[in-house]
């Protein structure tokens, strides 16, 4: 009997999550999926900004504590990766940018004053905190947000766990962050449709994955119009203002974590700079620019 795809979905990390595994037995797949969902739940419980009992909340509550806080290896690795993202993007990708989100209220569609922005920016900057040797010192009024890192990491971690449980062909989708385990049986790649930020049900492109991961970043529905100007929810930590770059980008890489970091960095760059950076990165990607034109790099022409 040939293995057929078995689909499972659940809600975690504030997103729709989906796992597709090829196997003959649905019961066996269900057992595997339960363990995979547990790993997602573990990471959500540990790194959710919205949970009182999360370790991230404990880290954020330690802000200003002179003694700092001991962190485990996993958290240290996430900080190492976040610091690397910060350095590779010259400060654009910053997990401490949370203070800016507080003053930009996208529901009320209000533009804050420059004074408010300057105050908030004083509490932003990953280079202001120290996190090494499993110990973090978070300055007062600074906050960490692992958005753009943890969900991507979870997708990779789940894929790795699935491999260790014997899965050979599978797809993990955590709210648009994809990590695949091998190709589909028969060396058939997984086709991931990239939805368009401008049309509700439209697919703007398709990216084929044989291995690795795919992540997207975009302002999709989260933006507002104010006095005729479009304000994206993606805030540039260097200026404190919304970035005026690409509308959306989807990137494929060897890991979902790498794809996600690259997508976030691309979104924060100025439009023309972002296009050139993506072109030169060597990664397969699809993007939509501010004029709603679709471009791509590193893809086979058939896509």
């Amino acid at each position: 009997m040939n293995p057929t795809p078995k689909h499972f979905s659940f809600k975690a990390m504030g997103s729709f999550c989906e796992i597709q595994l090829f196997d003959e037995s649905r019961i066996r797949v269900k057992n595997v999926v339960n363990q995979l969902a547990e790993e997602v739940a573990r990471l959500e419980k540990k790194y959710s900004r919205f949970r009182e009992d999360s370790f991230l909340t404990e880290i954020n509550s330690s802000a200003g504590n002179k003694l700092g806080l001991a962190i485990d290896d996993e958290t240290q690795s996430l900080f190492d990766h976040a610091l690397n993202c910060f350095e590779q993007s010259d400060g654009l990708f910053d997990i401490t940018a949370g203070a800016l989100n507080k003053i930009w209220d996208f529901k009320k569609a209000l533009v804050p004053s420059q004074a408010q922005i300057d105050v908030a920016r004083a509490h932003v900057g990953l280079n202001k905190l120290s996190c090494k040797d499993s110990h973090i010192h978070l300055p007062r009024d600074m906050q960490i947000d692992f958005g753009g890192i943890v969900k991507e990491y979870a997708a990779d971690s789940v894929a790795r766990l699935a491999r260790s449980l014997g899965v050979e062909h599978g797809l993990v989708n955590l709210g648009g962050d994809f990590s695949v385990i091998g190709s589909q049986p028969g060396n058939k790649p997984w086709a991931v449709g990239i939805s368009s930020p401008v049309s509700e049900s439209g697919v703007m492109a398709k990216i084929e994955l044989n291995d690795g991961g795919l992540a997207s970043s975009g302002d999709y529905e989260r933006f507002f119009m104010h006095e005729g100007k479009r304000y994206s929810h993606i805030l540039n930590p260097m200026t404190g203002w919304p970035s005026n770059g690409l509308r959306a980008v989807s990137i494929a890489a060897n890991l979902c974590s790498v794809a996600g970091s690259a997508a976030t960095i691309a979104m924060l760059k100025d439009e023309s700079e972002a296009k050139a950076w993506l072109e030169d990165s060597g990664l397969a990607c699809v993007y939509m620019d501010s004029e709603e034109k679709i471009g791509s790099a590193g893809l086979n022409s058939k896509n």
Partner: protein, 385 residues
């Protein structure tokens, strides 16, 4: 520009690959495992021609092994091992010469021996970013033997986790107090100590193969003789060295792995030995694995080994007729069937072992008549939760 963007991506990969859920590095167990293994070890009985008097039945040993491995907080694991062995049968007491001059074995006691061994060991391991360290302490007790031991070891990963170096040391303090000492003029009580040191390097060669080499030294001192043998007098110091190598290779097309091991051993009693084994780990689907194993063992005799106890020799002169000190070779073949379901793993193993002086590549001037043949069957059950 081109260089810088692709350099950015490569740089991002380095920290992403180091994330514990992605990296293949050492990590504490995330689940607990309880294992139970029952083994039966049964030596073939001797024939009447080898043993004119007394029992023909040699050792029959049942071993029950329990193990619990459990995560302990974020970076630690706990290991608890408990073993229980029950032993019955007889072991060679002394050897003599038959009327036609051939050496014969005289087994101990008409009613044989029965003994129990209980062992408990507790250990813990602490996992760091690039390695781990751990220790254990244990206690073992028999009717006539008691040992207390402890060990410490550490391992560190280098070269993007492709190379692992580990080292460790252990110490054991043992006491021997033979039963019926007064009746048989045995030593009443004595002790011995062992200290061991090892270093090991393992290297992942590529995606499908790896190699490991380890060197260990053991120094034993104290009462190293067998108190139950009539004429057994050995030096009270022994230095052992062992060099072990293993190579593993996975064959993707066959969905199977080949394991090749070789071990060289030498001690200053004069014994050198070589052990080579070969096993093929064949996966059958996702659940089953079968493992055929072949082993060849070959050793030289201790300098003071004698196959016929010399009752005229002064007891101050080293001598022993223990078959384990003779020159011999042994071949064994085994077969395991492993079923790995999600939370359960069941392993069934059968092994046949044949020792014979004719299998030895070393010079066998004094063949032992007490060499063993045995069957070992074991059933192991692991439960993860």
């Amino acid at each position: 520009m081109k260089d810088s963007a692709s350099r950015n991506i490569i740089a991002l990969s380095t920290t992403a690959l180091a994330l514990p859920g992605i990296a293949l590095a050492d990590a504490p167990p995330t689940q607990s495992t309880i294992s139970y293994k029952l083994s039966n070890y049964q030596e073939d009985d001797l024939s009447r021609s080898e043993t004119p008097f007394g029992d023909l039945e040699r050792y029959d040993i049942d071993v029950h092994q329990f193990q619990l491995v459990s995560p302990l907080g974020r970076n630690m694991s706990l290991h608890v091992d408990a073993n229980y062995e029950s032993l019955s049968g007889a072991s060679p007491w002394y050897t003599s010469r038959s009327l036609d001059g051939e050496p014969i074995v005289n087994l101990s006691g008409a009613s044989g021996i029965s003994d129990r061994r209980t062992e408990l060991s507790i250990g813990s391991r602490y996992y760091l970013e690039n390695g781990s360290f751990g220790g254990n302490i244990g206690y073992s007790e028999e009717d006539d033997y008691r040992a207390i031991y402890f060990g410490f070891n550490t391992e560190k990963h280098y070269n993007n986790d492709l190379t692992t170096v580990s080292a460790g040391l252990s110490y054991s303090s043992d006491k021997v107090f033979p039963t019926d000492a007064a009746l048989f003029n045995r030593v009443e009580e004595d002790d011995k100590q062992s200290s061991s040191l090892f270093v090991s390097v393992s290297q992942i060669i590529n995606q499908v193969s790896s190699f490991q080499s380890a060197l260990s030294f053991t120094e034993q001192s104290g009462f190293l003789s067998d108190p139950y043998k009539l004429r057994d007098f050995r030096p009270d110091d022994k230095t052992q060295i062992a060099w072990s190598n293993s190579y593993r290779r996975f064959f993707v097309s066959a969905n199977a792995a080949l394991h090749v091991n070789y071990r060289y051993y030498h001690d200053d009693f004069g014994i050198s030995s070589h052990t080579s084994d070969l096993s093929w780990h064949q996966n059958l689907g996702r659940t089953f694995q079968i493992v055929p194993t072949l082993r060849y063992y070959n050793q030289s005799a201790a300098e003071f080994f004698t196959n016929v106890d010399d009752f005229l020799n002064p007891i101050s002169e080293y001598q022993s007729s223990d078959y384990r000190l003779s020159a011999f070779g042994a071949v064994s073949g085994g077969f395991s069937v492993i079923a790995d379901m999600n939370s359960w793993k069941i392993t069934l193993t059968a092994e046949r072992y044949l020792a014979n002086d004719k299998y030895s590549a070393y010079d066998v001037s004094l063949p032992s008549t007490a060499l063993v043949k045995y069957n070992r069957i074991s059933l192991g059950i692991d439960f993860r939760f």
